[in-house]
C-alpha cells in the first residue's frame, strides 16, 4: 500500500493586508489533499492556501523605461498574479523593455508574459516630453 505523507505548514495569506496566519495540514500525494485549515478570516484564504502549496503566485510590480517621456520611468504590474518561480525571468524581460510616450494607465506593455496568461500593464500615465 502507498503511504501518504501528512504535512503541516503555517502559511501567511498575502491576499489582503490582514495577513492571516493560516495553519494547514495536507496530504502531499500526486494530488494534494487539504485535511485541515485554521486561521483564515475569509474564504479567499482557502483558495490562497491551495495555490500556495502547489505553485505560489505573486503580482509583479516594477518600472520600465520610457522614451520621449516627461519622466524616464513608468511603473507597471501584472494584471494577474504570476508564478513566483518565474519572477526572476520576468524581471529580466522587463529590465530590457522600453515603451514610447505617451503611456496611459492600463496600457498593455507586454501581452501574456512568458505564457502565464497575465499581461503587464502600465500603472501610471506618462505624457510626451514637451
Amino acid at each position: 500500500m502507498n503511504s501518504v505523507e501528512y504535512k503541516k505548514k503555517k502559511i501567511v495569506c498575502t491576499n489582503c493586508p490582514l495577513g492571516c496566519k493560516i495553519n494547514v495540514v495536507y496530504a502531499d500525494a500526486d494530488e494534494i489533499e487539504i485535511v485541515e485549515v485554521k486561521g483564515n478570516r475569509c474564504k479567499r484564504g482557502l483558495e490562497f492556501v491551495k495555490q500556495e502549496i502547489t505553485d505560489p503566485l505573486r503580482v509583479v510590480v516594477t518600472s520600465v523605461k520610457v522614451e520621449d517621456g516627461e519622466i524616464s520611468m513608468a511603473s507597471v504590474r501584472s494584471d494577474k498574479p504570476v508564478p513566483l518561480r518565474l519572477m526572476q525571468d520576468i524581471m529580466k524581460i522587463l529590465k530590457e523593455t522600453k515603451v514610447k510616450a505617451p503611456v496611459k494607465r492600463g496600457d498593455v506593455v507586454i501581452q501574456n508574459i512568458l505564457d502565464t496568461g497575465s499581461d503587464i500593464i502600465a500603472t501610471r500615465s506618462v505624457n510626451r516630453k514637451k
Partner: protein
C-alpha cells in the same frame, strides 16, 4: 497675486486630494497647494500594490490610487496649484506661498493641513563610524530606483523592518542588488506579516531580529557594516558581532509627521486633532501622516475626507463643536488618534499598543466598549468605531489594553 477662498488644502498626497474632494462636495471653494510638479506625495514612488483595498475596494498600486483620485478631482471646481511651496501660515488666516512666478498670498476661511511625514535619518541613530557615501533612507533609494532608473548599490543591508524596509528589500533584490539582510532591533518584525512573507521569505532574505547596527566603515564609500545582537533592554550582547561587506546601508527607521509651516497649534509630535480632524486652532484641520503615521493610505484618505468635510462646514459657519471630550492614553497604549472627541459626531479611533500581545482586550471607558484583538502588535494599527454619545458631563475617556490569559 492675491487669492481668496473658503478652504485651502496644504499638501497634495492621498490625504490632501481626498480632503479637497470632500470640501468641494460640501460646497466650499477649494484651493489645493502642492510643492511638487504633480500631486500624489509618496504614492508616486510606491509602485507596489496593496493600496485602496478599503477605500476603493480594489488592490491598486500607489500610482493607480493617485490617478484614480486625480480623475475624481478633475470633475470638480478645485483650483490646484502645483510647484507651489507654502512658506508661512499666519493666525489671521493668511498663507504665503512661492512658485516660479514669485510670492503670493491667500486669504482663506479654513485650512486643511495634509503635509505628510518625513523620513527619520541615519544620523538620528548616533551610530559611530565614518560618514561615508552609500547610506540612504529607504525613500531616497525608492526614488532612485522607481522614478530615476538609477542603481544605488551592488549589495545592501537594510535597517528597520517596517513595511517600507521590507518592500525595499524585495525591490532591491529584484533589481539585482544583493540584499544581505534586514536588521531589526525589536524582537518582532515592524511591518505587516504579509510583507515579511512576500518580501523576505519569498526570496530567502534573512531577517535579524533583536539586532542593531553598531558601526559603519568605509573609505569615501561604505564598505562594512557591523551588526550585533541586543538583549531585552536593547543593550548590545558582547561577542555577537557580524560583519557585512556591503556598499549600501538603507535605513527605514521611522517617519516623523511634518507640521511645518504651522507653528501655533497643539502638536505631539504630529497635529493633535479631534474626531472631526479639527486642531487646537478652530479654523485649521489636519489629516494623514502629519497627524499620526498611518499604516494604509486608505485610512489617510478617509481621514482626509473628514477633514475636508468639516473644514467646508466650518467655512460656511455650519460647524461649531460645543463640547470636546479628551481621549486619554491608558495602560499599554502607545499611539492614539484622535485626542479629542466631539460627542455629537461619530469617531474612528486609531491606536497602537505599546508591546506585543497574544490576545489583547482593548477597552474604552466609561463608554463600555471592549474589543478583543488576536496578536496585537505595535506595528499594526487597531481601529475602533465609536457612535455619537450625548453625555454633557463627560470630560474624559480612557483607552487601555491588557493581556487576556
Amino acid at each position: 497675486m492675491k487669492y481668496e477662498t473658503d478652504v485651502v488644502v496644504l499638501g497634495g498626497g492621498g490625504g490632501g486630494m481626498a480632503a479637497a474632494k470632500a470640501a468641494d462636495k460640501n460646497g466650499a471653494n477649494v484651493i489645493l497647494i502642492e510643492r511638487e510638479e504633480e500631486n500624489g506625495g509618496v504614492l508616486n514612488q510606491c509602485i507596489h500594490n496593496g493600496f485602496g483595498i478599503h477605500y476603493y475596494r480594489k488592490d491598486l498600486t500607489g500610482p493607480e490610487f493617485k490617478e484614480t483620485l486625480q480623475e475624481e478631482l478633475a470633475n470638480t471646481n478645485i483650483k490646484i496649484l502645483n510647484s507651489a511651496f507654502v512658506l508661512n501660515v499666519n493666525k489671521d488666516k493668511q498663507l504665503t506661498f512661492v512658485n516660479h512666478k514669485g510670492i503670493h498670498e491667500i486669504k482663506t476661511k479654513a485650512l486643511v493641513m495634509a503635509t505628510g511625514a518625513r523620513e527619520r535619518h541615519f544620523n538620528s541613530l548616533a551610530v559611530p563610524g565614518d560618514r561615508v557615501a552609500g547610506i540612504f533612507t529607504a525613500g531616497v533609494a525608492q526614488k532612485y530606483i522607481n522614478l530615476q532608473n538609477l542603481k544605488p548599490a551592488n549589495s545592501a543591508l537594510i535597517v528597520g523592518s517596517g513595511d517600507i524596509g521590507l518592500i525595499m528589500a524585495r525591490r532591491l533584490h529584484l533589481e539585482g542588488i544583493e540584499v544581505k539582510g534586514v536588521v531589526e532591533i525589536l524582537p518582532y518584525p515592524g511591518g505587516l506579516e504579509r510583507n515579511v512573507q512576500q518580501c523576505l521569505r519569498d526570496y530567502n532574505i534573512p531577517l535579524y531580529l533583536s539586532h542593531t547596527v553598531t558601526r559603519v566603515e568605509g573609505n569615501k564609500r561604505l564598505s562594512k557594516v557591523y551588526v550585533s545582537q541586543v538583549d531585552e533592554n536593547r543593550q548590545v550582547i558582547p561577542n555577537t558581532e557580524k560583519v557585512f561587506n556591503v556598499d549600501a546601508l538603507i535605513t527605514s527607521v521611522g517617519l516623523i509627521p511634518l507640521t511645518d509651516p504651522v507653528k501655533f497649534v497643539e502638536t505631539g509630535p504630529g497635529f493633535i486633532t479631534s474626531n472631526t480632524n479639527q486642531t487646537s486652532e478652530d479654523w485649521i484641520f489636519a489629516a494623514g501622516n502629519c497627524t499620526v503615521v498611518f499604516d494604509l493610505v486608505d485610512y489617510v484618505s478617509r481621514e482626509g475626507e473628514k477633514a475636508g468635510k468639516y473644514a467646508a462646514l466650518y467655512s460656511q459657519n455650519q460647524y461649531f463643536p460645543e463640547q470636546k471630550v479628551k481621549v486619554k492614553k491608558g495602560k499599554n497604549i502607545n499611539i492614539l488618534h484622535p485626542m479629542y472627541i466631539d460627542p455629537n459626531e461619530r469617531t474612528k479611533l486609531y491606536l497602537r499598543v505599546s508591546k506585543t500581545f497574544k490576545r489583547a482586550e482593548v477597552t474604552v471607558e466609561p463608554l463600555g466598549i471592549k474589543m478583543i484583538e488576536e496578536e496585537a502588535r505595535p506595528s499594526e494599527m487597531i481601529e475602533i468605531s465609536i457612535k455619537p454619545f450625548k453625555d454633557k458631563n463627560l470630560k474624559e475617556i480612557e483607552v487601555s489594553a491588557r493581556e487576556l490569559g
